[in-house]
């Protein structure tokens, strides 16, 4: 591990800004979802009412967890089918200046599932596969809706945790509408303008053709990028307009946009933690979880950075090959050479090690999956960190909702396992954690390893599965593990290296994404529903403290031991052994 002041300072500054944003964002979320006055009321309230009037939604009618979940499923499946239809018919639809042909069924299925589950796994290059209409009506639509669905699900689960009476969790359609109108749209409009200012294109024209200095004709892909980019980050979608994703200068042109994009990924997640504490009546409850995930985030960011800055030790030593003597200087030179040092393979020179590893940590901590560097090219340990982040359920700041309720699941498990040690049956926020709650939380816990390890184990011995990996040995295992981890975790970031655009991977991946989204959220909604109707026992000196450092530490312990250790055997044969082999001088 090697650390530089520059890299650590970037992590610190990013974290500090996030810390400052948490409370205001959280308070705004309270206003949106507790139907308090927001600044946009005069303009948006009539629009909101119009939507209810058109769709026949009764604003004050609340749903129990089942009705809420069914509404969500109906909405998501309808959106999924719509996207599938658009993809298959895009050659016959307008806004296709580059004349992209219809998308192949397996890929269309994979992509439709991918975007409707907030995964945004992309087995294609956007600029050469999707028409502008598909990008805007199909993909960008889902960037909004799948993000909003994630947020409102988290809000609904939180309501189950904190409500004092009744079994209802809110109204899905109202929550969804308010989330879109008051939360996502305003920020996206401002954000898109910010990106345009920083140099991100926003146009309906086709690709620009320019003559390069050498006199060659070069085609430069353009499009309505800025508007897509902001929701891609804010909604922790991560599906890039371009194949190069956030490494592309038109998606992420400057270090400033890089910082802001990372903040977009985390702010709603962090804000939801504050929201949770606020509506639970004690913000310390939210801060305790914030503390737990902050630890996980900082630890991951520092390790990932340290591993990458250290570089590949094989390149440090001089190698005499047949033709020449090769050695790479991987040391960090700040002023003299302005050399980032470390393992720069697959990373943008604009971002260097610090901004790349921080971005990799952030995008996998939350369920974003946008990348500004190629995780496949990371050192084994550097690449294991993003994979582990996703495998834990992207609970670190929680992305837009999905990780947040994963974190609540771990909090419930932590309370259940250790809570007995204070001599009372476990309770969280004054509500007893009993049979039904434990059943649902354990079911949620089971889903991730089931899908990740199950599909990976199958693919790794299935001849076609193995044939698609580009590196043999442990790295190949990492590639497959990462792919199913990313899809199950609805992250969508690619380790690359695996040629996953085959019917096998498209279909199994589609199922992994569906299992990861709905196999997880349905039990958690049931958990919220079970808690909603429970009496709240007032806290006293005898009740388990769920605030403070001790509880944060407990949650971290449970996440690592119950959540992470499951993957240890598989990782031992993947990234861990690869790292050890690298130290021993063997690469793949």
């Amino acid at each position: 591990m090697t650390f530089t002041f520059n890299g650590l300072a970037q992590i610190a500054v990013f974290f500090l800004i996030l810390l400052l944003l948490t409370k205001p964002v959280g308070l705004y979320l309270v206003a949106v979802f507790e139907k308090k006055n927001t600044w946009f009321e005069p303009v948006l309230r009539p629009v909101e009412k119009a939507f209810y009037w058109i769709s026949g939604v009764k604003e004050d009618e609340e749903q129990d967890w089942k009705a809420y979940t069914v509404s969500m499923l109906v909405f998501t499946v309808a959106g999924l089918l719509l996207l599938y239809a658009i993809e298959r018919l895009q050659d016959k639809l307008p806004l296709n200046p580059m004349h992209q042909s219809a998308v192949d069924p397996a890929l269309a299925w994979n992509t439709a599932v991918s975007f409707s589950t907030n995964t945004n796994w992309q087995n294609y290059s956007g600029e050469t596969t999707m028409s502008y209409l598909t990008q805007m009506m199909g993909l960008a639509f889902h960037n909004f809706t799948s993000a909003a669905v994630g947020i409102v699900l988290a809000v609904a689960v939180i309501r189950g945790f904190v409500r004092r009476s009744g079994k209802s969790l809110g109204n899905f359609w109202v929550d969804l509408t308010r989330c879109m109108l008051y939360l996502l749209l305003p920020i996206c409009i401002v954000g898109a303008l910010f990106l345009v200012w920083q140099g991100v294109p926003e146009t309906f024209n086709g690709s620009a053709v320019v003559t390069s200095l050498e006199g060659f004709k070069q085609t430069i892909a353009l499009g309505p990028v800025a508007s897509q980019e902001v929701i891609k980050m804010l909604g922790t979608n991560g599906g890039g307009f371009f194949n190069a994703n956030s490494a592309h200068p038109f998606e992420n042109p400057t270090n400033f946009t890089n910082l802001v994009e990372m903040l977009w990924i985390f702010t709603f997640g962090a804000g939801l933690l504050y929201f949770f504490g606020k509506v639970a009546g004690n913000t310390k409850i939210g801060w305790a979880l914030f503390g737990a995930v902050s630890f996980l985030f900082l630890a991951a960011a520092v390790i990932c950075f340290g591993a990458e800055q250290n570089g590949n030790p094989l390149l440090n030593t001089v190698h005499a090959t047949k033709d020449a003597v090769v050695s790479v200087d991987q040391t960090y030179h700040e002023y003299a050479l302005a050399q980032p040092g470390g393992n720069m393979e697959g990373k943008e020179m604009r971002f260097g090690i610090g901004s790349s590893t921080l971005f990799a940590t952030v995008t996998t901590d939350a369920s974003c999956g946008a990348v500004n560097s190629w995780h496949d090219s990371y050192t084994p340990i550097g690449g294991m960190i993003p994979m582990l982040n996703i495998a834990l359920g992207e609970i670190v700041f929680g992305g837009v909702g999905s990780g947040h309720y994963g974190l609540l699941m771990f909090a419930v498990l932590a309370v259940f396992i250790a809570g007995l040690m204070v001599g009372r049956t476990p309770e969280y926020l004054g509500k007893k954690i009993e049979q039904q709650e434990v059943k649902m939380a354990s079911l949620g816990l089971l889903i991730l390893p089931l899908s990740i390890l199950g599909f990976s184990a199958f693919a790794i011995v299935y001849p076609h599965g193995v044939s698609q990996i580009s590196n043999p040995g442990p790295h190949g295992l990492s590639e497959i593990l990462y792919a199913y981890t990313s899809m199950t975790g609805n992250n969508g970031s690619a380790f690359a290296g695996l040629s996953a655009n085959t019917p096998f991977y498209n279909w199994t991946g589609g199922f992994a994404m569906l299992i990861g989204r709905f196999g997880f959220v349905i039990p958690i909604m049931a958990l919220g529903g079970a808690l909603a109707g429970k009496r709240i026992a007032p806290a006293g000196p005898g009740t388990l403290p769920t605030t403070g450092v001790l509880f944060s530490a407990l949650v971290v312990g449970v996440i690592l031991i119950v959540g992470a250790l499951t993957f240890f055997p598989a990782y031992a044969l993947g990234p861990i052994v690869e790292h050890l082999l690298m130290l021993a001088g063997k690469t793949f």
């Binding site: 204070v422 009993e434 390890l453 295992l477 005898g542 055997p569 031992a572």
Partner: protein
């Protein structure tokens, strides 16, 4: 006890309501049987039971141990295969060792459960001996009175049915549970309670219930049988201590679900490891996979879980409390509010005369003489204490009983007692009652009476007003007797402890609010309910429960039954009525209301033990991964030796050490599981921190040390 809440009684309750005469606060009970934890008798039986429990149908109830048993069977087959297959010859010793230790793991867990059951079974044996075999004396239906030599039919106890009438005379055993319809007798209940001092049982009121298996020592009673054979209290008690139909408690069920899911997750992790290993070029042997699986699944808590539950119930039995369900024991740990009856729990059962305060210019001697006179025939402790005070402190001579004295006993309607002599009437009792009595006889109310009464009441005392009429003199009110409630020593400290545990105490009393407040302050309880009636008590419980709190209470009277049923933990006194015992979910055989505090502690201890061992078990996994994963793959990737942080000698030794540790830890923790983790009355925050350090952090570190030690021993013995 209930005499304090029936009505506002400033007078002593009649003796029949005192139940066990004069022993409640003086006798300290010893546990019924001082069975040490590892009694050879129990040990022997437990070893045999451990093998009996290998039956897969028994194991299937515990998913974690069932997986271990299946794993043991699989490795046994592997071992047989290794004997036949020449390719596996080198593995024989290793596979056999792993197989044996896996079987031991199952046996150890069975043994733990059998040990916990053993103590109960030993107790059940003793109880069975109490089941009477002597014939019962069945009377003709409708018999209500006793006549010497009355005819009866001799039948065996099992033939008795509900509603039968039986006669029980001195020296007879009571054949079954019942209600006394006539007579009074002293009864030896030691077979049930372990307490040798006899108790009085009589028809009518709250002391009319008798229990089958107890023995009448003197006099006779006619009993209406209330239980059919097999449903008696003794039968239920035997079933309870034996744990025959032990139902899993709600938290235990929830924990079992979590353990089952964790087992599935680890099964998944281990099963998928094989394809990964095949891809990596070195399939893992089935024995190693099973060993890894068994080490990872939570066998420690899985193996000890039921033992912890049984031992918790057993700890209550040791304290002479019978819990009708495990659910109640768990609820006891969760209790937020304790409703404690003032009398007998917070204060000594009886109020004592403390001072005579004359009013209206009466002399102290006049008052003392009248007070003594009125109390001479009064056999209540309060009455006796007045006589003692008058004699010893006010130097009054005891008057001679010339036979002309008529005693007017206390009754709930008159709320006063006294004596009638020729030409003289003396009354003492509740101030308003005596005042009404005196006013009716045209006595004037002295100006200084009311202030005196209020002062005593405010100080927590009970004022008894004394008045008299004499022929030829104007009836007058003489003064006030100050009866003082004596708060038991050490109660304040107990309540402070409870407060630290997060439990509020509410004192229930029939006294007026002023008196109640004074005693509440003196005893240090958090709150009180004055002038309590069964209705207000019920209302209080409902209010607390609506606020999300769990309520525990004790009771013994029939009018307590609804509240006992409503409370989350209702402890009925064994001396109480059948209705009370049926309404509550626990019975205290000692009939000691202070026991409630111990019951709460037992409940908490049970939960803490369960949580501590769960945490410990899960934390253990870290070390086991580091023992087994490098051992399994080091042949393919020698570099994985770097993960072998414990520096275990060989892969076989590493795997075996982890399996042995996993088995031995169950044995090592049996005493803890049976005795329970000690509960200290400190705040939940400190308790969590301390227990997390011991069982969480300790649970991570200990196996690293333990596995290493076993590895060293194995190497020294050249076993692996």
């Amino acid at each position: 006890m209930n005499q304090s809440m029936n009505v506002q009684v400033p007078q002593a309750a009649p003796p029949s309501q005192q139940g066990r005469i004069g022993r409640r606060q003086t006798t300290v009970r010893q546990p019924r049987q001082n069975l040490s934890l590892f009694e050879p008798k129990i040990l022997g039986r437990a070893v045999i039971d451990a093998f009996k429990k290998l039956d897969p149908r028994v194991q299937a109830r515990n998913p974690v141990m069932f997986v271990v048993e299946v794993g043991s069977a699989v490795t046994t087959i592997e071992w047989v295969r290794s004997l036949i297959d020449p390719h596996l010859q080198g593995q024989q010793g290793f596979v056999l060792a792993v197989t044996l230790w896996l079987w031991f793991t199952v046996l150890f867990a069975n043994f733990a459960e059998a040990m916990a059951e053993g103590r109960g079974k030993a107790q059940a044996d003793t109880l069975r001996r109490a089941r009477t075999e002597t014939p019962a004396k069945r009377l003709a239906p409708g018999t209500t009175d006793y006549a010497p030599g009355m005819p009866f039919e001799s039948v065996g106890a099992p033939q008795l049915r509900k509603g039968d009438l039986v006669l029980v005379e001195a020296g007879d055993a009571i054949p079954s549970d019942g209600e006394i319809v006539a007579g009074v007798a002293s009864v030896d209940e030691s077979a049930i309670t372990g307490e040798s001092a006899p108790v009085i049982r009589e028809s009518g009121g709250d002391r009319s219930a008798v229990t089958g298996g107890t023995k009448v020592l003197s006099d006779w009673i006619i009993v209406r049988i209330t239980s059919n054979p097999g449903e008696t209290f003794l039968d239920r008690m035997i079933a309870l201590v034996e744990g025959a139909n032990r139902q899993k408690t709600p938290n235990e069920i929830a924990l079992n679900i979590l353990l089952a899911v964790l087992t599935i997750i680890f099964l998944l992790a281990v099963v998928t490891l094989e394809p990964f290993a095949i891809y990596s070029g070195n399939p893992v042997s089935i024995t190693a996979l099973v060993a890894l699986l068994v080490c990872l699944i939570p066998t420690t808590i899985g193996g000890l879980l039921s033992a912890i539950g049984i031992a918790g119930m057993d700890r209550l039995v040791q304290r002479n409390v019978l819990a009708m369900s495990g659910r109640a024991v768990e609820a006891a740990g969760d209790v937020d509010v304790l409703l404690l009856d003032k009398t007998g729990t917070i204060t000594l059962g009886n109020r004592m005369a403390h001072e005579f305060i004359p009013v209206n210019g009466t002399t102290i001697d006049e008052l003392a003489e009248a007070a003594m006179l009125s109390s001479m025939p009064d056999e209540t402790p309060e009455g006796r204490s007045i006589v003692v005070l008058a004699r010893d402190t006010y130097h009054q001579n005891e008057p001679h009983d010339n036979g002309a004295v008529t005693f007017i006993p206390f009754s709930a309607t008159t709320r006063m007692s006294g004596v009638d002599l020729p030409g003289r009437e003396v009354r003492k009792g509740a101030s308003d009652a005596v005042l009404a009595w005196a006013t009716a006889r045209k006595a004037s109310t002295p100006a200084d009476l009311q202030p005196t009464v209020e002062r005593i009441a405010r100080a927590g005392g009970t004022p008894l007003v004394v008045a008299e009429t004499r022929s030829g003199a104007k009836p007058r009110i003489l003064g006030v007797i100050y009866l003082k409630d004596i708060v038991k020593t050490g109660m304040r400290e107990r309540f402070d402890q409870l407060r630290k545990m997060g439990i509020r105490t509410v004192m229930i009393t029939g006294d007026n609010p002023l008196t109640a407040k004074a005693i509440a302050d003196e005893a240090g309880v958090d709150d009180f309910l004055a002038q309590a009636t069964p209705e207000t008590k019920m209302k209080l419980i409902r209010e607390q429960q609506a606020g999300g709190r769990l309520v525990a209470m004790t009771g013994d009277g029939t009018n307590d039954a609804p509240a006992l049923a409503q409370a989350d933990v209702g402890v009925a006194m064994n001396t109480g009525t059948q209705a009370a015992k049926e309404a509550g979910n626990m019975v205290d055989l000692d009939s000691n209301p202070t026991k409630l505090i111990e019951i709460v502690e037992v409940g908490k201890q049970l939960l803490i033990t369960r949580g501590a061992l769960t945490t410990f078990s899960i934390a253990n996994d870290v070390a086991k991964y580091f023992a087994i994963i490098p051992a399994v793959f080091v042949a393919t990737f020698p570099q994985l030796q770097a993960l072998n942080v414990m520096q275990l000698r060989t892969p076989h030794s590493a795997i075996l050490s982890a399996v042995i540790f996993n088995a031995l830890i169950i044995i090592a923790l049996i005493p803890l599981a049976l005795r329970g983790v000690k509960y200290r009355a400190v705040g939940a925050g400190r308790l969590l921190r301390d227990n997390l350090l011991i069982y969480g952090v300790g649970g991570i570190i200990l196996p690293f040390v333990g596995i290493k030690i076993i590895d060293v021993i194995l190497a020294a013995l050249h076993l692996a």
